[in-house]
């Protein structure tokens, strides 16, 4: 008489293999049949649970970080392979094809975000532009207190306005209105 199928035998059935005798038993045994069905259902759900995929920049940053850590350990004699000079040369080779647009290093202890649309700071040329546009407090005050051209023209006297109009006509070679 066939007893219940073992757990590893049931797993074979879940995956579509296993001896005919085991399949025959499961067809006749409600308990084993339920266990196989439950495992198949869970397997289907498990297959659908994908991992959020980080952007390409994350993978590049990971490689650079691992490279830096390896060089750092080698320099301290941690790996006992090549001298520090060769390790530094290896790091240059590892990073050689990656353009560095901004002379700034990313923070060592900060993991690159998995889903950020922005490049890491060391490769973000836009960041340098934004920082170059930063105005200090005095500059901001000066900008907000500056009068506009309209303010200046509206403050002219009649005589000054006529002189200005004459000068503009002469500049533009336009006759008197």
């Amino acid at each position: 008489m066939w007893g219940h199928v073992s757990d590893d035998g049931l797993m074979d059935l879940v995956e579509g293999s296993g001896p005919a005798a085991a399949r025959t038993h499961v067809e006749a045994c409600a308990r084993c049949r339920e266990r196989v069905a439950a495992a198949q259902e869970a397997l289907g759900l498990a297959h659908g649970a994908s991992v959020p995929e980080p952007p390409q920049a994350y993978w590049e940053a990971m490689r650079r970080r691992i490279g830096r850590l390896i060089v750092a350990e080698t320099s301290r004699g941690g790996f006992g392979l090549r001298p520090a000079l060769a390790a530094a040369a290896a790091l240059v080779a590892l990073l050689g094809l990656l353009p560095v647009r901004v002379a700034r290093e990313a923070p060592r202890d900060e993991a690159p975000p998995a889903w950020s649309a922005l490049p890491v700071p060391a490769e973000d040329a836009g960041l340098a532009v934004l920082q170059g546009l930063d105005a200090d407090e005095d500059e901001l005050v000066a900008m907000t207190s500056r009068v506009s051209l309209a303010d200046i023209v509206s403050a002219l006297s009649d005589a000054e306005s006529q002189d200005l109009a004459q000068a503009l006509r002469a500049e533009l070679n336009v006759g008197p209105s």
Partner: protein, 209 residues
């Protein structure tokens, strides 16, 4: 127990290769490994590039968040680099690397208590039709959280078999167990997964060797 395996990379390397299959190393891996063993550090970058996604995904499924997965993946590659001088090529490099990654994750979890709030909020109290009607992304999140709550050995078996498409023999080699035990652990893992998603309690089952 997996947690009791020595963390010494040399021991990891030796134990992984005991369960090895001869001639299983890819030719391009073999070349990069040999270069690393000669001291050419940049060659390890090629191995990182080739396996970083798989290692990250394995770690993510184990710890279920990006920050820890990032840390674990990075640590796994560093351990692999430290031990690469002892890699003899008797097993596939990926098998050896996965073993290091799994052990790294196991020891990480052993050192850190799980966040009870995270666990409690991740699983619905009742999922009468196993997440029917739940949006795909939310369903994936719930399933990932449930996988992360499985007992260590069941979780490792399920992750390696289902998400990395390894054979039972390869999983057995990584986890240091028999093929029959791998199948049994996987079966228990799936049943526990279903039980959790239906709002039930875990059955630790025969998660032994």
């Amino acid at each position: 127990m997996l947690v009791e395996l020595a963390l010494d990379p040399l021991v990891l390397a030796a134990s992984a290769e005991r369960a090895a299959r001869p001639g299983a190393v890819r030719a391009d891996d073999r070349e990069a490994i040999a270069a690393c063993q000669r001291g050419e550090q940049e060659a390890f970058g090629r191995l990182v590039e080739r396996y970083q996604r798989d290692v990250y995904r394995l770690c993510y499924r184990y710890v279920n968040n990006h920050q820890d997965a990032n840390d674990m993946a990075q640590e796994a590659f560093l351990k692999a680099y430290r031990a690469i001088g002892r890699f003899r090529g008797d097993s596939a490099f990926s098998t050896w690397l996965y073993r290091i990654a799994v052990n790294t994750c196991l020891n990480f979890r052993a050192a850190r208590r799980p966040d009870p709030q995270l666990l409690d909020d991740s699983i619905p109290d009742k999922a009468p039709h196993l997440l029917e009607g739940v949006e795909r992304d939310e369903r994936a999140r719930v399933v990932r959280a449930a996988v992360a709550r499985l007992p260590d050995r069941q979780r490792a078996t399920l992750i390696l078999k289902v998400y990395h498409d390894l054979t039972h023999e390869e999983v057995a080699g990584i986890l240091g167990s028999s093929v029959g035990t791998v199948k049994a652990n996987l079966f228990h893992a799936l049943n526990n997964l279903r039980r959790m998603l239906a709002g039930g309690a875990l059955d630790t089952g025969a998660g032994g060797r």
